[in-house]
Amino acid sequence: MGRKLDSTTKVKRGPGRKARKQKGAETELAKFLVNDDEPKKLSSRAKKRAIKRAQVSKVPKQEEKPKKGFSDENNKWLKPAQRKRKIEQSEEEEDSDSQWEEDDDDDEEGLVQQQMEEEDDDDEDMVDDYGAEEQDSDGEELLPIEKAARKQKKQTSLKPESDEEEDDDDDDEDDDEKGDLDEDDDEEEEEDDTVQANIDETEQFKLPGAADRAKEGLLPMDLQTIHQRIKDNVDVLSHFSEKREEGKERSEYISLLCSDLCTYYSYNEFLISKLMDLFPLSELVDFLEANEIQRPVTIRTNTLKTRRRDLAQALINRGVNLDPLGKWTKVGLVIYDSSVPIGATPEYLAGQYMLQGASSFLPVMALSPQEGESVLDMSAAPGGKTTYMAQLMRNTGMIVANDASADRLKSVVGNIHRLGVTNAVICNYDGRQFPKVMGGFDRVLLDAPCSGTGVISKDPGVKTGKDEADILRSAHLQKELLLSAIDSVNADSPTGGYLVYCTCSIMVEENEWVVDYALKKRNVKLVPTGLDFGKEGFTRFKERRFHPTLKLSRRFYPHSHNMDGFFVAKLKKLSNTVPTTPKETENEAESTNMQTAASSEQIQKPESKRQKPASTPEKSNMGKKQKLEKKKSDGPKKAKIAKLDGEASKKSEKPKKQKVKELNGDSTKEVGKEKKKGSQSEKKNKNKTKKLVNKNKKRMGKNRFRKLKSMLGKAK
């Protein structure tokens, strides 16, 4: 410390404390005077400050070179006392940071610093009491850290980069100023200083580059430091053009932020990078913070057995502190605290309420099943949504609650019985088999199994356990399930034809992408969910572009809505036909032909009628539609038939031959598939096809038939 150099301080270390104190007082006064002299610098600084103030930007960094050497040591000494007046803890943290990070650097000490030290000593005396003096002597213990800091400061100050100097200078300014000038000015400048000091920090992180990181890897950095660094980094990134360090790319800041977030919040890199794509930086930290704490406990009143008012009253009598959940629900209650376990009160046992997350209310509200409808819940465990649907339907109609996991179904059974649901059938199928088992539901709810990135607060294992493959696997399963769900809805239902797809994930791959896929593959459209809050779904994300109606879907986040992360989309099925020809992927060009031919064979066999190759395409189209759906739209079929008639007449024999060849050669698999798929619906549609065929036969004429027959004969 520069204090040692002061002859005055040495003098102070004379006889007793009191004497010292007195002397110190005197010397303090003297120093006041001295400082008055010193304020030459101050005054110059004041001038500079004035200039700064005059200027808008933070440009005047270079003016404070004379104050370079003003070491952090002084800051450390002085700031605790001084900073009590001012709330800039960040500066302290910076100092601590700088302590940690600057230890490695520098061994230089300059005269400049000594001068600064002197000034610092003065300041110390001014502010601190006699302990300060003692600290001077005892300060040796702290000095090594300060020395190192000093050294680093010197190094940075000596380096051409003006920013650091500026920071040091600013810090120094603070110290100097405190004794003298308006504290308001100081505070302003200190705020600027902290900002610049932030930059300083980030810059300092990167200066050593790889070496520093490696050191960080070895030394466990304390979380405070990391947290501060995250904040500063976000700050820099949000005002990048102003606060960036020269020569440092945005990507470097971002990569540093990424690794810091991973360390601080215990995520794996993959997830953090996904989240960084998803949220702007300011929200990102909020989101991560929100995932650290639990969402409030919420319950849903079972209106089959009680009313919300009565239930609230009963629970309050038991000693539960609760409130209605929000304007958007009439059955939700949020529990603040409770003297009895909420899952074990007699009311719970009597089935008067159900413990359920607030976000789980939403898909059922969106679906809004009516009384007397038949509803399918494809992924029902543990049964919260199923029972909510039952209570909305007042135990009328019918609910099929399905889940692929037999273990989890037990909870569904329990909940259904407990809540007094009588119209439920519970089964244990893989959801993808569903259209075959049963179809023609009025409404379907699919709460698809997902990666769980929206419920990290409930399951912190998601933070590190998920990677690219998991997400894609989930997405694949969800697409299959969604298609099955769509196929289980009856589009011609008088009251319904709706499907709600929801997940407790915030990943675009599992949400918008899946819905977009379904829009392409089936005759469905998105409709408003009826939920008036929540963020709209994305219509584009990175390189992907989704259908514009995706903005009718809704996203919910823990940090903005205080409920688990959720995605809800409501679809309406337009028709029961499956648009397969134009939009299929991969093999389609050939396989469509094969399928048409195959299905034509298939249909021909049961019908056992005279076959006309021209009619086969018609049948094939019908067969395709038969695959998964029961009903048909006659209009498009007839149109297609008419088309095909025209085509058949125009076509030469050769393509037909080819078709036939393909038939014979490759169609066995297709036939097999189509037979299975078409079996149920096929029977129903036989009559229709027969009728149509009859009509078409009349149109076709025998000559063509003979021709084709002969072709077939030739081909074989």
Binding site: V400, K410, V413, G420, T422, N423, V425, I426, C427
Partner: protein
């Protein structure tokens, strides 16, 4: 899933009548449709016919539960009533026992009810009559008056605490 055989039906109805007397008919013919009992995996399920139709589509090994489970048949063909049937039987219960609040909690935990917890009791409760809640009256009404406070008055058979205690067995 199959309909109950005569024997099973008899056994079950006997048990039910202990609790609700002759009101069993009311269970079958309800204003909103006919209900029926079906047996599946040794359990008796109570459901409306509409649900029955739908449930037949589901294959036997995949079907977990239909409507409400009333109880199950043990290996020795005795019928054991489940708490899940409470909602249906309660309106028709013949014999009721009023219990004090403290005793109610203890009943929930699975204990029998002692006289000290007894508030009121329906007149003419015969011994071993079913009491909805569920319990079996251990003593007749008269005897209840006589006995000392600690003796057991109602045997515990089923209570809603089972929803938590034996969640697994409900399936």
């Amino acid at each position: 899933m199959r309909p109950l055989t005569d024997e099973e039906t008899k056994t079950m109805f006997e048990k039910l009548s202990k609790y609700i007397g002759e009101n069993i008919k009311l269970l079958i013919d309800r204003p909103d449709g006919t209900y029926c009992f079906r047996l599946h995996n040794d359990r008796v399920y109570y459901m409306s016919e509409k649900i029955l139709k739908l449930a037949t589509n589901i294959s036997r090994d995949k079907l977990v539960s239909v409507g409400t489970c009333f109880g199950k048949f043990t290996k020795t063909q005795k019928f054991r009533l489940h708490i899940t049937a409470l909602d249906f039987l309660a309106p028709y219960a013949k014999f009721k026992v009023w219990v004090k609040p403290g005793s109610e909690q203890s009943f929930l935990y699975g204990n029998h009810i002692t006289k000290s917890g007894l508030g009121r009791i329906t007149e003419n409760t015969a011994q071993y009559q079913g009491v909805v809640g569920f319990g079996v009256a251990a003593k007749t009404t008269q005897e209840c008056r006589k006995v000392d406070p600690m003796s057991i008055v109602v045997f515990h058979q089923a209570d809603i605490g089972e929803y938590i205690r034996s969640e697994d067995t409900l399936t």
